[in-house]
Symmetry: C2
Subunit: 491 residues, 2 copies
């Protein structure tokens, strides 16, 4: 498998034009005299969990914020890192691919070479599997040439799993030791940056000299707080998604006979669905967070949609676009309870065909009420985290079927007098995820890659690269690093 | 319903920028001295059906090709249409919306106004329904302002039905008479242009003075022959589709665990699937025409895919992208026979739940073999033509399920030794259909709109607007009109 990654390849005209674009650096990162300045010590933003977090991360909790600044003449020479020893760095793509990921590699490679051409950047092939197996690709200008500003993670491939178990942590540490890495860069979202925090703590405890740093790259956009303003990939995915949803809005109004049910990515957080709604103005959006807050049942949600369809029919409108995040299904209280039961049985190794007969009476009734296709999907093994396989559960189709049944019932009872309700279902996950990154994501990821170098050069461990002031133009971006522990929310 | 169409509306920045673009005209259509020149009389390209066609269209069959040329000084004055009486024209969008349709309206409106500001263009609201009910919107610069170079058919809405029955033809004729139309422009694909040919013949027979002309606008791209080089919308839909498929290719390789099954639009013709394959290089494409030619069964197709999956697994590749057209299901001989039986029972008014018990033994066995979701979809009423509701039949999912079952069987039997096969299904229909038109489609549709004026001005009836030499730059485009009967293939 690994032999295919990182190969030079033919680019399309569009890809070629993109590969020629070179992002700029904010002034604070220009040149080779960038200095680090430390701020106040940090605590976890999750104040309720702060105690647990500080106990889990005794060596890496409470570290100060770091800021990267351009050395000016009135800064004492001692503070300027004027000597740049060659360092060896490994990088691994973790979790779902996110547009822009390749530019983190590019930015880091550039920064390493600018400061010392003898430095080495190794990419792990196939994500965590490649890390554990020490399968690497040395990053060079030639290797990078056809991956600059391109989508996907196909330069290196990506992990399918966490880096959390004892065996996994030991394998990662063995790799870092064997390869004599000064730094390990983990590119990923909430789960992967949490992994990075654990690795950093564990490496420190085990006196492994490799420093571990994280980069916030996740199209879900859910790794956000006062230090992490945005995640690489979110901008692209929302723009691509909004464009396609806008196409559907135009299409729905032109044909005047369909309701489109569109499921978008987003597990715990409905950020993608919300942002796409703001950009494309669909007729309705159902946010998982609102469902949780209001404890809406599947019947409540069905009724809300039916009432909206009916109100539109009264205005002679028989079309619409309804958005929902893939995480919606887990946010519905009674479905969540059912999933918990199923997952418990799956973990006990009970075979799929036996589970339905062992459900509690209440969960069983709900399960039997569902159409066969959704039953099959609810019985899928959960993902490596505790989540259901949300990309495989067709929640949009479930709602479409329930709404269709309810509208038929209303029609029969005479409470609805309009035309037949016709749904069409779409899942917009993978098309957007593999798309070419937006200019913002190209720039942002490239700058984060540079910051990785400065973090490792400053000896930071258990930190995440951050850029703030992102709403301003690039020359005003502020570059720094925050201990990953500030962002953690342990369960 | 109609009150919503054609309203001025807020445009996004992108839409606004697009609305400011104005296509150019090829030299032959510039100015107000365009002349028509007639070529040889035509016959039907479908030579086997020529006799039947000539009998069905006694008055409009065999008319000569028309060419529109710019008058030059050595052309006798008499041949130049120097006087341009005001005319009244109606336009109706028929069939599936296709990117670029709005520019036909724009081009026609511009040509009318240039030649005589007193001319009138009426758009029928809601397609054929609006034609029959004489619901119109007068096209003005203000009305058009926010629809130039935009996708969809939401300026006017579109037909959901054919214009073929006696009642429908009479209603259309009544509308043309009441509204005193000199011309009726039908914008659509194969079915709608066939309707236009019938209307033209019927109007002539009934001494209705309205001339009927057609414009080849269909994203399926299947209204093609030596006179009709391209259809408005096909270029856009293939570009948008190819982009999304390319994203999936990148995504599949990055994640290295999924096979994507992608269903594209295209009923009788697999042109969209073929063109998208040429542009995006998926791992496999299944073309309906090849299935028909080789009489492949559903089991043959399943086996072909499985063999490809297995061959890739032997090279440690566990990902791929497989394209298929929505029309594939009807091209499989035994499924086609089953659909014929189902449609016959549906036409006889037999209720859906009784049909499966009345199928022939052979069709029944196939029907029972299919998973429940596909059975339900096969039982849907056919579209207004004789086709099944192809947009609703999840052929990609059927194949994914069959391949998954076969790969599991091979795994159990030990003939396949690779990892688990995991399919993900996509239908890329509506996202592309509603998208913003490509520059080519903007230009081409606008020019066709201008040609409509010249066709009506020359008194042509039963003709379709044509542009040839489209591969060259716009200044070399040749503009003309061909009798619709040359393109017909009667069944």
């Amino acid at each position: 498998m690994e032999s295919d990654y990182g190969l030079p390849r033919d680019l399309s005209h569009l890809q070629l034009a993109r590969s020629l674009y070179k992002p700029e650096l904010p002034p604070c990162l220009q040149g080779t005299t960038v200095r680090v300045e430390f701020g106040d010590a940090t605590t976890a933003l999750d104040t309720a969990g702060a105690n647990a977090i500080s106990q889990s991360f005794p060596h890496t909790y409470g570290q100060p914020l770091a800021h990267f600044l351009r050395a000016t003449s009135n800064v004492p020479d001692a503070q300027i890192i004027s000597d740049h020893p060659a360092i060896r760095v490994g990088l691994v793509f973790c979790g779902r691919q996110s547009p822009g990921g390749h530019n983190v590699v590019w930015g880091l490679h550039e920064a390493l070479k600018i400061h010392n051409p003898q430095s080495t950047l190794l990419g792990f092939l196939g994500g965590s599997e490649g890390l554990f197996a020490q399968r690497t690709l040395q990053i060079t200008d030639d290797v990078l040439a056809t991956y600059k500003n391109q989508g996907g993670y196909d330069l290196l491939g990506r992990t399918k799993d966490q880096i959390r178990s004892g065996d996994q942590v030991n394998a990662a540490m063995a790799a870092c030791n064997t390869l004599k890495l000064d730094g390990l860069v983990i590119v990923g979202g909430v789960t992967s940056n949490t992994d990075a925090a654990y690795l950093a703590e564990k490496f420190h405890q085990s006196q492994c000299p490799t420093k571990v740093v994280g980069v916030p790259v996740t199209l879900n956009g859910d790794l956000k707080n006062q230090f992490v303003e945005a995640n690489v990939g979110f901008d692209t995915v929302c723009k691509v998604g909004s464009q396609l949803i806008s196409n559907l809005c135009t299409d729905a109004f032109s044909a005047e006979k369909y309701y489109y049910f569109v499921r978008l990515m987003g597990q715990k957080a409905s950020h993608v669905a919300l942002e796409c709604s703001l950009q494309s103005h669909p007729n309705m959006v159902i946010l998982a967070e609102e469902v949780v807050a209001s404890k809406l049942t599947i019947f409540d949600i069905t009724k809300q949609i039916c009432d909206a369809v009916q109100a539109r029919a009264e205005k002679e409108k028989y079309h619409g676009v309804i958005l929902l995040p893939e995480g919606l299904i887990e946010s519905i209280p009674e479905v969540n309870a059912l999933l918990q039961e199923i997952h418990r049985f799956l973990r006990l190794g009970i075979s799929v065909d036996k589970i339905s007969s062992r459900l509690s009476p209440w969960a069983s009734a709900l399960f039997q009420f569902f159409p066969p296709f959704i039953r099959e999907e609810l019985l899928l093994n959960p993902e490596s985290g505790e989540s259901a396989q949300l990309s495989q559960i067709e929640t949009e189709k479930l709602l479409a079927v329930l709404v269709e049944a309810e509208m038929s019932k209303r029609l029969k009872e005479g409470t609805y007098k309009g035309k037949k309700f016709t749904p069409i279902c779409h899942f917009m996950g993978y098309q957007a995820r593999g798309s070419l990154p937006s200019k913002f994501d190209c720039d942002y990821a490239y700058v984060l890659g540079h910051i990785c170098y400065h973090m490792l050069s400053a000896g930071l461990n258990g930190y995440m690269a951050t850029v703030t002031n992102l709403k301003e133009s690039l020359e005003h971006w502020r570059c720094g690093a925050a201990p990953i522990t500030v962002s953690l929310a342990l369960k």
